[in-house]
């Protein structure tokens, strides 16, 4: 019973509502079970928390909890259903101090003192030897990709914290950060760290069950299980893992059934102090339509952001890659590449590969000056600004001088409604989000978005002043808020905050 949100099982409930409900339920149970079984099994139970999803009862001992769960589930559920209209999962917490008979456990403790007198015998027992070969076999079975190990991760100032947390979790799963939650934009090493934790953990504890999946795989397995009516093996697979690594959890957004299943998986593992590590392209609180209870659970442990690597780190990463891939590329050339490609690690690798390829194809020695020419395309791609829904909302809010939360809110005074409609219109025209995605970014339905877009188009046609004010916001957005600049100067401008706009972007998957 670890890591659960309150209730504290040792604290008596003072909530009069809960007490009243428990009185009613008790009465109901007495009626259906009879007085003596009720007194025998339920007299020391308490009700600790009630929500539509979950009812938490405090049992006076583990054994009571097990027996009540095994033998009285049906009458309990029907009693709760009668008073609450529905009945979520019933979970038992145990308050051992309430139980009286402790004979067995005390016997155990008595034995502790006698330890010194232990007869020392040396029977033989199994010690497991892991060869690299077996490790690879197990890792692959766990869904891990060979190349992503701690050894070939290059930690820099951008990822120091994430790297340290990952090491800590791999060394002591379930004991340090529960859950560990990485977020960053794509291609910065979240997936690499997830796999690395898996490998290290398997190396240290070869028998532990490590499972790496993307949230999408989890979803597919779930759907598959429902179709084949095989939820039991599905749950067994996930809920019995010692270390569960889930990539791209933002994929859970907007999928209610999946979230419910994942919630239970999460609880089960957390209860048993099994380690969970998650990676997402945005912080938990910004995952679209993620249930509150999941958000709060994701935030329990440690959330770490991996930033974009700085110049030196980028150079270090590329040098490592060059050595790994045995490419004949000079340090000077690498320096040129990292100056120009500021994006994610994948873009860096792409640039390196391209440069190396051109270098091998051309006859004469490759000069650092040629780098710019060869990777020009990649740089352009990196420079094109992508605006997201959140960024647009912020810009519109600034323009109308209101708080961005008001745009998300429900107020419909003329000025606010206009701001909201302008924001919807801009999101629709500047991003490639679908109507439904735009709607959910605003917490509205798609009809509202259609209406807003139509209305704004009309107003732009009707009023030149309105049109120019919308154009102004648009220009600010596209230019990233700074005055016009040469493409070269732009490249050296500070990177836009990588997180902006993720709230509404379609899920981006790290493709590994």
């Amino acid at each position: 019973m670890h890591n659960h949100v309150p209730p504290d099982p040792n604290k008596p409930t003072n909530d009069p509502q809960l007490n009243q409900l428990w009185n009613n339920i008790s009465h109901e149970l007495r009626g259906s079970l009879g007085d003596s079984p009720f007194d025998l099994w339920f007299s020391d139970f308490r009700l600790a928390a009630v929500s539509p999803e979950e009812i938490v009862m405090v049992a006076p001992g583990t054994m009571y909890a097990i027996w009540v769960e095994e033998n009285f589930k049906t009458p309990l559920i029907s009693a709760f259903t009668k008073y609450l209209g529905s009945c979520g999962r019933i979970r038992f917490e145990v308050n051992e101090s309430a139980s009286t008979a402790f004979a067995a456990d005390q016997e155990l403790e008595g034995g502790e003192s006698g330890r010194e007198q232990l007869a020392r015998v040396v029977p033989r027992i199994l010690v497991e030897k892991v060869s690299e070969e077996k490790l690879l076999e197990r890792g692959r079975a766990s869904g891990l990709v060979e190349i992503f190990r701690f050894e070939n991760f290059v930690p820099g100032e951008n990822s120091e914290l994430a790297w340290a947390a990952a090491r800590a979790v791999a060394d002591q799963p379930g004991k340090t950060y529960q859950p560990l939650f990485f977020h960053s934009s794509c291609g910065l090493g979240k997936t690499h760290l997830l796999h690395a934790i898996g490998w290290e953990s398997l190396r240290q504890r070869p028998k532990s069950k490590v499972l790496f999946v993307t949230a999408e795989q989890f979803a597919n397995d779930y759907i598959d299980a429902i179709q084949k009516n095989a939820l039991v093996p599905f749950r067994k697979r996930y809920r019995e893992a010692d270390l569960l690594l889930i990539d791209d959890v933002q994929f859970l957004g907007r999928k209610e059934g999946l979230q419910r299943e994942f919630f239970h998986t999460f609880n089960r593992l957390a209860d048993q102090r099994k380690q969970i590590v998650l990676a997402s392209d945005c912080p938990a609180s910004e995952i679209n339509e993620l249930e509150e209870r999941l958000v709060s659970r994701f935030q329990w442990g440690l959330g770490v952001e991996i930033h974009r690597p700085g110049l030196e780190t980028r150079a270090a990463i590329l040098r490592r890659k060059r050595d790994d891939w045995r490419m004949a590329v000079s340090d000077e050339v690498i320096d040129r590449i990292v100056e120009r490609v500021r994006g994610n690690v994948r873009a860096l690798e792409g640039a390196l590969i391209r440069v190396a390829m051109v270098a091998t194809l051309s006859e004469e020695p490759f000069s650092p000056e040629k780098v710019a020419e060869v990777i020009a395309e990649l740089c352009d791609a990196d420079d094109s600004r992508q605006v997201g829904a959140e960024e647009i909302k912020r810009a519109v809010a600034e323009h109308y001088d209101i708080d961005v939360n008001i745009i998300n809110g429900k107020k419909r005074t003329a000025r606010i409604a206009e701001a909201r409609q302008v924001a919807m219109f801009l999101v629709r025209s500047l991003t490639d989000l679908s109507l439904v995605e735009v709607a959910s970014a605003f917490g509205k339905d798609h009809g509202t978005v259609i209406y807003a877009v139509k209305k704004m188009k009309k107003r732009c046609e009707d009023s030149a002043a309105f049109k120019s004010s919308v154009e102004l916001i648009k220009r600010r957005l596209v230019r990233g808020g700074s005055p016009m600049e040469s493409p070269r100067a732009k490249r050296n401008a500070p990177t836009s905050h990588p997180r902006l706009g993720y709230g509404a972007k379609p899920a981006e998957f790290d493709a590994e």
Binding site: T62, E70, S99, L108, Q117, L118, P123, I125, A141, R239
Partner: protein, 365 residues
């Protein structure tokens, strides 16, 4: 490695160790039996990484060495060999040749170095107990082990040593079986461990009706040495729940009944047990017990047996399988059923320190 061995001896030894080998394993080496030949004879070992069994047998060893061979396949070959004398030879590539009279087999194995290393056991308490005592105690409790893997602490027999007593308990949340045996232990050996189901099953296979066995228990492992075999198992980590919470401490009525008569009657009546509730009714009154089952779409069954009982009429419904399990594994002629009322747990007892708690099923009407 080269040796000569008697077929019967080899076959028995392989039978004792081969059950540990699981048919579906991720590591091919785990389906093999490790064979080591030294001056004294052979040592056969199998493991699934949780439970390891090692068995020593006599053989005429011409040259020492070790190898691993597929356990199941080897056992089935040995079983079919035509003569009682087997010549065994293994070359450097772990290919074994088996000759017995006119037949010849060549079996490809894996190097012994790949077999998980059998290393050393830490600090442990060691004692000896009577084989028959442990065998009986395991037999009387192990059927109640839970198979629900989500409650892993219940997936084994809880074994408590202390206060001059050996206590074995197994439960699945609907019934509980417990044996308490008086036993002298050296002081300081009090301990409580949970022995996993697989080790319990293997141990039951190895235990004999006479002789002693040597037990060693460390923090997370236990070993049992008996009749030339050594079984080592990991223990289930975690605290076994306080089972005394569910043992009723008093009873209002006692029914005395002949075990075999009751078992046979329940077995017959259960053929028509209600499939939905899987329960049959026990109506006790005045020295008779009427056992009945009623399956709305199939039919009904009733059997009346003589018992010793002098209380008011009581009707209790039980899962027939849960009633039969202890009856099958006891050997006393008479058993006692202690009851409080129609809806409280019943307790089956014998005139030895054993008890079995069984929950009644709720019956409508």
């Amino acid at each position: 490695m080269k040796f000569q061995i008697e077929k019967d001896v080899f076959q028995d030894a392989l039978n004792q160790v081969q059950h540990v080998v699981s048919s579906r394993t991720t590591l091919p080496i785990l389906s093999n039996v490790l064979i080591r030949a030294d001056e004294l004879g052979l040592e056969l070992s199998t493991t699934d990484l949780d439970v390891t069994i090692t068995k020593r047998v006599a053989a005429k060893v011409a040259s020492t060495g070790s190898t691993t061979l597929p356990a199941r396949r080897l056992a089935s070959i040995v079983r079919e060999l035509p003569t009682n004398e087997i010549d065994f030879e293994v070359n450097a590539d772990n290919a074994a040749t088996v000759k017995s009279g006119p037949s010849f087999f060549k079996i490809l194995g894996l190097p012994a170095t790949e077999f998980p290393v059998i290393g050393e056991f830490g600090e442990a308490r060691e004692f000896t107990i009577d084989q028959k005592l442990l065998r009986d105690a395991l037999r009387k409790t192990s059927y109640a082990i839970s198979t629900d893997e989500t409650r892993y602490v219940l997936n084994g027999v809880n074994c408590i040593i202390g206060e001059g007593m050996l206590t074995l308990v197994a439960t699945d949340g609907r019934r509980l079986a417990m044996v308490e045996q008086d036993l002298e232990f050296p002081a300081g050996n009090e301990t409580g461990v949970i022995i996993p189901t697989k080790a319990v099953n293997e141990l039951q296979r190895l235990l004999d009706v006479s002789g002693e066995l040597k037990v060693a228990i460390s923090d997370n492992q236990a070993s049992f040495e008996l009749n030339g075999s050594l079984l080592i198992t990991k223990l289930i980590e975690g605290n076994y729940p306080n089972f005394r919470q569910v043992i009723p401490n008093q009873a209002n009525y006692r029914v005395t009944v002949e075990r075999e008569v009751l078992l046979a009657a329940v077995r017959r009546v259960s053929l028509l047990a209600n499939e939905k509730t899987n329960s049959i009714k026990f109506a006790f009154e005045d020295n008779r017990l009427a056992i009945s089952a009623n399956s709305p779409e199939i039919g009904e069954a009733e059997e009346v047996i003589d018992v010793r009982y002098s209380g008011p009429r009581l009707v209790v419904a039980f899962n027939p399988e849960f009633v039969m399990a202890p009856l099958r594994n006891l050997d006393q002629d008479e058993v006692f059923i202690d009851l409080i009322d129609e809806s409280s747990p019943g307790v089956i007892k014998i005139d030895e320190p054993f008890l079995y708690v069984i929950m009644p099923m709720r019956v409508a009407g």
